[in-house]
Amino acid sequence: MLILTCPCCGVTAEETEFHGGGEAHLKREGPGSDDAALEGYLFHRENPRGVHFERWRHVYGCGKWFHAARDTATLEVFGTYPAQSTRPPEDLLETIRAKRPGWRWRDLA
């Protein structure tokens, strides 16, 4: 069971109060993109064993979207951060570096 803290309302609750929204920080590829970019946007996902970044929505609470960093193997949640972010905050990355030396996720490490 995941325990998440919503950065919008500050509630800490277990995952049944939230709803997962898939991988974080996807860049939309639309008209003007080539086929490979569109295919990647639609279908290619990280699916890591370990550190992962996701979107979540506080669906039964304040209703807001946010981002979460967690370990898919241990279910440890490293932290949550606002939806209005194109990349995880540096202090969160430092936390993950300390806990999971050598981790990689896309161009983050």
């Binding site: 919008c8 309302c9 500050g10 609750a13 277990e14 049944t16 039964y60 609470g61 304040c62």
Partner: protein
């Protein structure tokens, strides 16, 4: 105009925790940035209550002013004052990026009364909330079993619950059954 009726016509179950469906009240939802002073001042003036902080609820008589999210507040007030309050709020916020809407018929309002520990146990059985630390003055939006709800304690020994009107019977039955089962703690 026809008279408003509550979802369950005042249905009440007596017990160590009493569960009742309350008479209809006015409910105004305000959407707008609550950190914007124009919006929060207008709301405070209309409500006659200070706008509560994050996850807070202000209580005075039949009035409630609840923080629902960074851009949503809920004002509960006597039905008789609904129209004038909504009109005033709409006028004050005419040039702001905010919207006040009459949501009185969208929700049901239930009340639980009983011993504090019993009330906390009833809610702990149904909602993923740590009821040991839940305090008066706080509002919690969460779920009761399978439906969305919000609850708060206006005073020790009382809990008020709102849910969508369409699931009022489901929420009432959940609470009544949880209240009727033997205490564990």
């Amino acid at each position: 105009m026809s008279d408003p009726v509550s979802a369950l016509h005042g249905l009440t179950v007596e017990g160590s925790v009493r569960v009742e469906d309350l008479a209809p009240r006015g409910m105004i939802t305000l959407r707008g940035d609550l950190s914007d002073a124009t919006v929060s001042d207008a709301l405070a003036r209309a409500a006659g209550l200070a706008v509560p902080d994050r996850r807070g609820i202000a209580v005075e008589g039949e009035k409630r002013l609840a923080w629902m999210s960074p851009d949503e507040a809920l004002l509960i007030l006597p039905r008789a004052r609904l129209a004038a309050t909504l009109a005033g709020l709409t006028e004050t916020l005419a040039s702001s990026h905010a919207l006040a809407a009459d949501m009185s018929d969208a929700r049901a309002l239930l009340r639980l009364t009983g011993e504090d520990a019993a009330l906390r146990e009833v809610l702990a059985r149904l909602a993923p909330v740590d009821m040991a630390t839940f305090a008066t003055g706080e509002i919690r939006r969460t779920r009761l079993a399978q439906v969305a709800c919000a609850f708060w304690m206006p005073a020790p020994g009382t809990v008020e619950v709102i849910c969508f009107r369409s699931v009022a019977r489901y929420a009432f039955d959940l609470l009544a059954q949880a209240a009727a089962s033997p205490r564990i703690s």
